[in-house]
């Protein structure tokens, strides 16, 4: 490159920057002067100095010039010297249009308010939902090696024996960890015992995840071996609750009645396997223990791909098959599969969350269509004004630009209001979305504002495009001619009608979804869970691991007695697992005298004397437990009808004997009704019940239940029940609720999704009504002259009203039909939430259609009433 060329290029960039910010009329003179002075300076002080000077000039000039551009556009100032030399500063036209748009919105507050609020509702809702579900669904998991981590099949079903056997030889895995949920009681000084959601794990967990502590150390090999010092790693949140002091490392905490040393604090934002977990403890693994509820997670070895793991899984299942004997239905060697960690952790949340986001986006589309229709109505009302401007020389591009600027301004304001609405309604939304443990992670943050502005911009651009196309295609000069000759019409409003039909269709989709969900929930409520859920108070507790079984039994017996004495409580009982809370606690069963039966398991519940009457489980045959059944007496068992039917078909099961492994067989003393021991919608499954007072084993987690004389008292006795339990040491309340709420929760996310849909379909209906109202009002004002003449000629006002309402009904009907077709097309997406109702359920669809039609007629009735009262004299005089 020659010296001259480099000289030119050094000055070119600053000059073109300056050129971009100068008014067209002044560009040439200013740039010429600058170039001349640059050349003078180069000759006097050298090129480098001159270049530096030029850069300084440009950099210091830019802020003043940008400010001047804005001010000139906003104030419309034109220097006297430039009058014969047109060409203002850059963006001047846009800035002037912005000023014009601001003025227009200020002079039409109703239009501005409706447009901004409508759009803000869609924008705010969409950005709030997006912000809430972004973390669980799309944000990277807080583990360095998240992409290499997989979860093993049969989660919560691995035993310590299986893990210890597999651990030394895991082909194709870097390392594998076993973990299980364990709620841990924390006792500190005089504060009441607290139950903390925790994880009991083998030492490899953090290594598998690729996560390290913020303070102290993570687990290391040997922490889970017999004789190792008991250690715990705590979450950032718990660390702060405990004072947030680094000296906590090395201190001992009293956890589950025993001392454990805190060895590490995980960094803020770390969670596993869900954000509710507060601490992780390394647990001694017993190679002899064949029961267990562990989940296995493994890190793939470097270079291993998930798709190529089949040979490794084969080796693992072969090893399992050689070592263990699995009953039918629980055979781990049959269904080996690995799930990527994210899928395993949040996969079950995804459908409900995505459905919510999709519905919110539909609301946004309705809102955008609404605002577009409103804007078109405005443009239409301004046809004459625009036509005059066009006749005076404003080019079509200028008119389009005005519409675009107005849409962008509306979008920006809607974005700000939307962000405000999202912030105000954030907690309500978090409660309404089925987030589970992720709810506590949802927080309002700056990206929420960015999302709202982004969403609003996209909506505004879409609105601007549709409106601009309409203006671009509009017949402005024709409109001027018609205005002059007082002709009827203007634009046909076809685009507006199309937009309303579209939004009615979308509203129909949402309303139909809500109706289908409503029917599903209704069907679920109609399912008989086999227990009487009214008037039962429920308190979940955890007993410290170090409390020996006899002491546990004594505490439980005492608490049952005390709970029974609370005023309003008619009976109290305990169980280690409540119905309707999902599967689990399935124990092996064998029938004495029937060695031919294949080994199998059934739900196994350890309960107290009055359990069946407290839960409202009916007795079919024989008797249930009484005070005569004692620890040193004959072992007795109560079975449900499903168990009797399965194991003793065609014969009486009373007095037959079952074997569970307590040393002696148990005699069946009674048969009770089937209760939904696992999920609400499960088919009746075999279950058996034993008396806690007769068994050597007493679980750490127990649930006390109390029946109240009046159903409404189930809530009110909870307070007294909790204080009774807090009066005992070594036991902590985990949750206090009612059987009714347990039942509600057993319905799964469908209830929350329904409440969300119900709110959103109401919003969609309101927006749809606003749309219909806007378009019909506009239709009426366009035809005002027409109606005036007809009424003057003797047409009955009632017929005018009928015609207007008819127009509304027509728009709604077309929209409803389109919506119905769309609902049937996308109904399979609802599939996973529906129960006992088809996706094309005629009752749901008819109800939704009717609701929309009624709303549409009501929305059209107001302008229709106005049209019917048209005074022909006034109208004719106006034109």
């Amino acid at each position: 490159m020659t010296r001259t060329a480099s000289r030119r290029s050094a000055a070119a960039l600053p000059l073109s920057l300056l050129r971009a910010m100068l008014p067209v009329a002044e560009r040439a003179e200013v740039l010429e002067d600058l170039v001349a002075e640059h050349a003078e300076r180069a000759a006097a002080n050298g090129l480098r100095q001159a270049d530096r000077w030029l850069w300084r000039q440009v950099v210091r000039s830019l802020p003043a010039l940008i400010k001047r551009s804005w001010w000139r556009g906003w104030s419309g100032f034109e220097p006297r010297a430039n009058r014969m030399q047109p060409g203002g500063p850059p963006m001047e036209g846009w800035i002037m249009d912005l000023r014009f748009a601001v003025r227009r919105l200020r002079t039409r507050p109703t239009y501005a308010l409706i447009a901004i609020l409508t759009l803000a509702l869609g924008v705010g809702g969409t950005s709030a939902v997006y912000s809430i579900i972004r973390r669980p669904l799309w944000e990277p998991l807080p583990y360095e090696r998240a992409d290499e981590v997989v979860q093993f099949w049969n989660s919560r079903d691995w035993s310590e024996a299986e893990f210890v056997m597999l651990r030394p030889d895991m082909p194709a895995f870097r390392t594998v960890a076993a973990h299980r949920p364990e709620d841990i009681i924390l006792e500190r000084d005089d504060a009441p015992a607290r139950l903390l959601p925790g994880i009991s794990t083998s030492a490899e967990l953090f290594e598998v995840l690729g996560a390290g502590p913020m303070l102290g150390r993570g687990f290391q090999a040997g922490d889970d071996l017999a004789g190792a010092e008991p250690v715990a790693v705590i979450s950032h949140g718990l660390w702060q609750e405990l004072g947030g002091d680094a000296s906590l490392i090395g201190q001992r905490l009293r956890l589950d009645g025993a001392e454990r040393t805190v060895i590490g604090v995980m960094p803020r934002g770390f969670w596993f396997p869900d954000p509710a977990v507060r601490l992780w403890v390394a647990e001694e693994l017993n190679p002899e223990n064949r029961s267990g509820n562990y989940t296995l997670v493994g890190g793939l070895a470097p270079g291993q791909r998930l798709e190529a793991m089949a040979p490794a899984l084969n080796r693992i299942t072969t090893a399992l098959g050689e070592q263990f004997d699995y009953p039918e239905g629980w055979d781990k060697t049959r269904n080996a599969a690995l799930t990527p960690l994210r899928e395993a952790l949040v996969g079950s949340l995804r459908p409900a969350l995505l459905a919510t986001l999709a519905v919110m986006a539909l609301i946004l589309i309705i809102a955008s269509a609404n605002v577009t229709a409103l804007m078109l109505g405005q443009v239409d009302g301004r046809t004459t004004e625009l036509a005059v401007r066009s006749a005076l020389g404003a080019d079509r591009m200028r008119l389009v630009r005005q519409v675009v600027v107005e849409a962008l301004l509306l979008g920006t304001l809607a974005g700000l209001v939307g962000a405000l609405l999202a912030t105000l309604g954030f907690r309500v939304m978090v409660g309404a979305i089925p987030l589970g443990a992720w709810a506590e992670q949802a927080s309002i943050d700056w990206p929420l504002l960015a999302t709202a502005m982004g969403v609003a911009t996209v909506a505004a651009v879409a609105i601007a495009l549709v409106a601009a196309v309409s203006v671009w295609k509009g017949d402005l000069r024709g409109a001027l001619v018609r205005a002059r000759t007082s002709g009827i019409g203007g634009r046909g409003g076809r685009l507006e009608s199309g937009l309303v039909i579209a939004q009615v269709a979308v509203a129909m989709l949402i309303a139909a979804g809500a109706a289908l969900l409503f029917r599903s929930v209704d069907n679920l409520y109609a399912v008989d869970p086999g227990v009487d859920v009214q008037g039962v108070a429920v308190v979940d507790v955890a007993i410290g691991a170090t409390t020996p079984p006899p002491e546990r039994r004594r505490i439980i017996t005492e608490i049952i007695r005390q709970l029974g004495e609370i005023p309003g409580v008619s009976s109290a009982a305990v169980t280690q697992k409540l119905p309707l809370r999902g599967s689990g606690d399935n124990w092996g069963i064998s029938v004495v005298g029937r060695p031919d039966l294949p080994s199998s398991t059934t739900s196994f519940r350890i309960v107290s004397w009055d359990y069946f009457s407290t839960m409202g489980i009916g007795v079919r045959e024989g008797r249930v437990f009484d005070q005569g059944d004692r620890l040193d007496g004959e072992l007795v068992v109560v079975v449900n009808q499903a168990l009797a039917d399965k194991y003793f078909p065609g014969e009486s099961s009373l007095d037959r004997q079952l074997e569970t492994g307590f040393g002696s067989p148990e005699r069946i003393i009674g048969i009770v009704d089937n209760a939904a021991e696992a999920a609400l919608t499960d088919e009746p499954a075999p279950a058996r019940y034993m008396l806690f007072a007769q068994l050597p084993y007493v679980a750490e987690a127990q649930t006390f239940v109390m029946r109240t004389a009046r159903p409404a008292d189930a809530e009110t006795v909870l307070e007294s029940a909790q204080s009774v339990i807090r009066g005992h040491s070594g036991i902590a309340v985990q949750e206090a609720t009612t059987m009714r709420r347990v039942f509600d929760r057993a319905m799964g996310p469908v209830r929350q999704v329904l409440s969300m849909f119900a709110i959103l379909s109401a919003v969609a209906l309101v927006l749809g009504a606003v749309g219909v109202y806007g378009v019909i009002s506009h239709f009426v004002s366009r035809r005002k002259r027409d109606w005036g003449i007809r009424i003057a000629l003797g047409l009955a006002p009632a017929r005018v009203m009928r015609a207007v309402v008819g127009r509304g009904v027509w728009l709604m009907s077309v929209g409803i039909v389109v919506g119905l077709l769309a609902t049937v097309a996308v109904a399979r997406l609802f599939g996973s939430f529906l129960y006992g109702v088809g996706a094309a359920d005629p009752i749901s669809l008819a109800t939704a259609s009717l609701a929309l039609l009624v709303v549409g007629v009501a929305a059209a009735a107001i302008p229709a009433w106005r049209a019917g009262r048209t005074d022909p004299l006034l109208v004719l005089r106006d034109s």
Binding site: A25, Q57, R60, A81
Partner: protein
């Protein structure tokens, strides 16, 4: 359009620059004059933006000679009045102040 708001320091300087450069009062020349007298570097953008603002206030006017490309500026009568007022205010403020006698604070 005139404004009763007092002149800013830079506005006053720019107007004086316009007067000092006489018939050659175009943006770049005004900038050079200000730099020459004040000994500080002045950006061309600031000069043009200020001249526009002064013109909008009716204190200066701009024109182009027939066939001449450059926009030149002249101070209008209200501008002269404003300059005189600004100067009078400043002189009143300075009256009785002797910097040499004031205690010097570190």
């Amino acid at each position: 359009m005139t404004s009763d708001a007092p002149l800013g320091v830079f506005e006053e300087q720019v107007m004086l620059g316009v007067i000092r450069t006489g018939d050659e009062a175009y943006g770049m020349n005004v900038r050079r004059e200000l730099e020459r007298v004040t000994g500080r570097e002045v950006s061309i953008g600031a000069v043009y933006a200020t001249l526009d603002r002064l013109e909008a206030k009716g204190l200066v006017t701009s024109r182009r000679a027939p066939g001449g490309a450059r926009r030149t500026f002249a101070v209008m009568r209200p501008g002269m009045v404003m300059l005189a007022e600004t100067r009078a205010i400043r002189e009143r403020l300075w009256r009785g102040i002797d910097l040499a006698r004031l205690p010097v604070l570190a």
